[in-house]
Homo-oligomer: 101 residues x 2
């Protein structure tokens, strides 16, 4: 069964980490896929189909450690969700402007 | 006399490049120093006083190439300015949320 991974608390989320996490086209595409709600990690696709699985895992780690997404165990799978409430509270308007951009 | 440097046109500015340029605390601090108007590059200070001059130049290059700042000759010196109109037109609300964050 997949285990719990560490996530920064709302107060620990740093603006520069969030900007860095969203500064890669593949990572930004992941965030955009989560706008309408959580997704099973297996359903979350990369734009470049040739990316190795390890790169996908690393992207998810950067997004999680920056506080952009949650990555939580869900039975035998993992559920990804956007930390919209936390990001909106910390940096009002940022996520909307990035997801629209 | 300092020469002209290339700048992306408004239409060429990419969201991921802007996010990357602002994802470093020193580069973000440069952008914040330009909020109230252009500054002579020599007056634009780094948070870490021990940064080598080459690092400062590289930061300015990243910001210019991303379309965040203009870096233009001004007599024997260089004038830095924030491309607020261009950024606001391309990514409404982004710059304000980042500068406030």
């Amino acid at each position: 069964m997949p285990g719990s991974l560490p996530h920064p608390s709302r107060a620990e989320i740093q603006l520069t980490d969030v900007l860095f996490a969203l500064s890669d086209p593949e990572r930004l595409a992941v965030a955009r896929q989560l706008v309408d709600g959580p997704l099973d990690m297996a359903e979350c696709s990369m734009t470049d189909p040739n990316l190795p699985k390890s790169t996908k895992s690393h992207f998810m780690k950067v997004l999680r450690e920056a506080g952009v997404i949650r990555n939580e165990p869900n039975g035998r799978r993992r559920l990804l969700s956007l930390r919209r409430d936390d990001l909106d509270a910390r940096f009002p308007g940022l996520l909307d402007s990035v997801l629209r951009g």
